[in-house]
């Protein structure tokens, strides 16, 4: 168990800048997700934490110790790879045992025949077998111990990879999109299992994903990355309700947040059609300000109230009904959550959209959040 700290990490590959000064403080025992679109640098950041990649500048410390000079194995972190990276020629039991065998036996002790002749090696091997069995029991893969990875399903391989990471009780677990090769149903199930595992082990988890739903459901805190920068680091609630950057707002949440373009009047007020608000700091006249609100912050109303538009498409999830409205002045359809019960909006209906004033968010031309009050 350990806190992980990254300070001003910079990394580029052949002139392409991948990390542009990322700092991150992960508390001991915390579950942190690094989330962002592909190519945002999240995997590179994880690999730098693991020691598989060296940063060009900046510092990584684990449990209060700077680890930049340490090899991956000396950092005492375990990693679960997207491809699982199981040794294909070893059985499940042997796969799980590798980290223990490598740490506890000497080179001579690891030799196949000679090692078996030494009593202390035999004792150590017995201990390792016991620990492997314990971990296998925890993850319910005992019946698979004699199989080879090639004979396992995706979900089983995933568990074996987690078991191999768990067995030596590392300070931290680094996971690189571990669920992306699983089908949707299994993914949801494994999501819950990994969360439970985190609670039970109490270790620090750093979890890379491009799936905002995984990040939202599993994490204590989420780090949203884009273009090599850390845009926001906060709890799922903060990230969802109070995004500091419009790119965060757009990336997190499904269906995505509605964004309308507004123009500043130069007096500290701005409006997008009927939606008007005042800015705490006045912007020059004509500057584009964007206003955003979540689908659940809006509701359908009579055609002459609020934002006017025509229903273009509806998505029924059973619990929710999302109505896509082609509204005046909006580039993309505005999505409004409504209830499937009662009268439903039909495609082609003319409707109005009312937005809860306290749920409006304004963003400046530099993507950053602006302090604003709905008028």
């Amino acid at each position: 168990m350990a806190a992980i700290e990254a300070r001003d990490l910079i990394k580029s590959f052949r002139g392409t800048s991948v990390l542009k000064g990322v700092s991150l403080n992960i508390a001991d025992g915390e579950f942190v997700s690094l989330v962002g679109p592909s190519g945002c640098g999240k995997t590179t950041l994880l690999r730098i934490l693991a020691g598989l990649e060296l940063q060009d500048a900046g510092e990584v410390s684990i449990a209060g110790r700077v680890v930049d000079d340490l090899e991956p194995k000396a950092r005492d972190v375990a990693m679960v790879f997207q491809s699982y990276a199981l040794y294909p020629h070893l059985t499940v039991a042997e796969n799980i045992a590798v980290p223990l065998v490598m740490r506890r036996l000497t080179t001579a002790g690891r030799l196949p025949v000679l090692g078996g002749l030494m009593p202390h090696v035999r004792r150590a091997r017995k201990g390792i077998a016991g620990e492997v069995a314990t971990v296998a029991r925890t993850l319910e893969i005992e019946h698979l111990l004699d199989r080879k990875p090639g004979q396992l399903s995706g979900g089983q391989r995933q568990r074996v990879a987690v078991a191999r990471a768990m067995v030596r009780e590392p300070k931290a677990f680094l996971m690189d999109e571990p669920l992306s090769n699983l089908d949707a149903k299994l993914r949801t199930q494994m999501r819950a299992e990994i969360s439970q595992l985190h609670r039970r082990l109490g270790a620090t988890f750093v979890y890379v994903t491009h799936d905002q739903a995984e990040a939202m459901t599993m994490s204590d805190r989420i780090a949203v990355m884009m273009g090599g920068e850390l845009l926001q680091f906060g709890t799922p609630d903060e990230i969802y309700a109070e995004p500091v950057d419009i790119r965060v707002a757009e990336f997190i949440g499904s269906p995505r947040i509605n964004v309308l373009e507004a123009r500043s009047d130069g007096q500290g007020a701005a409006s997008a059609g009927p939606i008007a608000f005042s800015l705490a700091n006045a912007k020059p006249q004509g500057e584009v300000v964007r206003v955003a609100f979540r689908p659940e912050a809006a509701e359908l109303a009579a055609p002459d109230t609020g934002l006017a538009g025509r229903v273009e498409h509806t998505e029924n999830f059973g619990s929710d009904l999302f109505v896509h409205v082609r509204a005046e002045g909006a580039a993309a359809p505005v999505i409004v959550r409504s209830r499937p019960q009662g009268r439903r909006a039909q495609i082609g209906d003319h409707v109005g959209i009312k937005v809860a004033p306290d749920r409006l968010m304004a963003f400046g031309g530099d993507h950053k959040r602006l302090a604003a009050v709905a008028a």
């Binding site: 693991a50 020691g51 598989l52 090899e71 991956p72 194995k73 972190v77 375990a78 990693m79 790879f81 491809s83 990276a85 199981l86 040794y87 294909p88 020629h89 590798v98 980290p99 490598m102 740490r103 080179t107 690891r110 080879k148 090639g150 191999r164 030596r168």
Partner: protein
Amino acid sequence: MTDHAITDRAITNRAMTDRTALPAAAAGNARPAKARAPARKAARRQARTAYALLAPALLLMAGLLILPLAAIFALALTDYQLGAQAIAFIGIDNFKALAVDPVFWQALGNTLLYAAMVVPGSIGLGLVAALLIESGTSLRSFYRAALFLPVMATLIAMAIVWEFMLHPTFGLVNAMLGVFGIAPHNWLLDKATALPVLAVIGIWQQFGFAMVLFLAGLVSIPRQLYEAAALDGVPGGWERFRLITWPLLGPVSLFILVISATRAFQVFDVVYALTKGGPSKSTEVMLYSIYTEGFEFFRTGYASALTIVFIVLILAVTLIKKTVLEKRVHYA
């Protein structure tokens, strides 16, 4: 080449299933027989097409492989001499003669000894070269091409170059050894060194082939396995090689083993160019024996018997591969 073989096999399989399926269908229910008649016709047409497409390959195989092989088996049981009018069936007399022929045993022993030096030598050197090239960053294609060159070169021409290098008075080898104070030596005329020297030339010629195959094998090992190993505490170097590289190269290594063993058994050109089996039969090898018996002494029947022993030797390698080694190799 392999593509053709696969397609051919697929077609044969198809033709066979069609043929075996037909009588079964006919013997089945009589009722839908009428309905099936057109289908049967179509199946027969397909089978005909299949055989037509197979014919060229079958003819070539029969003419170039099966017939010569059968001829050798037949000749091995006769006293036929090349160009002679008479031929007589003598049963296994040729093999009996072989069994007591010291030259044959010498040739067999030398061939095995040569293979025992060349096979591990070329595989080991090929693997080391492949690992070095793979881990390096610059000039990789240059090294690859340079080390592969001997494989492509004509060995007879290369043998002549080696002959000059090994020349006892002005050869490069002795000159270089002289720098270290080692007295000049007539490598190819010494019974003790002639075969090992030929083996060194064999290794030099073959290891590039193993190297290229190992390089292909190395590329196909997922990088993530090495990264997982780095985190799992595998110390690197030897231990990493033992845990990941070597087992995952298993199928490639097995293939290289069989190919290079077969090629080592077939050693002929260097012997022919450099030593002619001498000094005093110390470099006499199977193929060279077959050649001298068949085309210098014209004892075709005897040479055929030798050839059969040689074929059995090659078959044995394949059989060992099939039965023993393949079970111990992990195929992903």
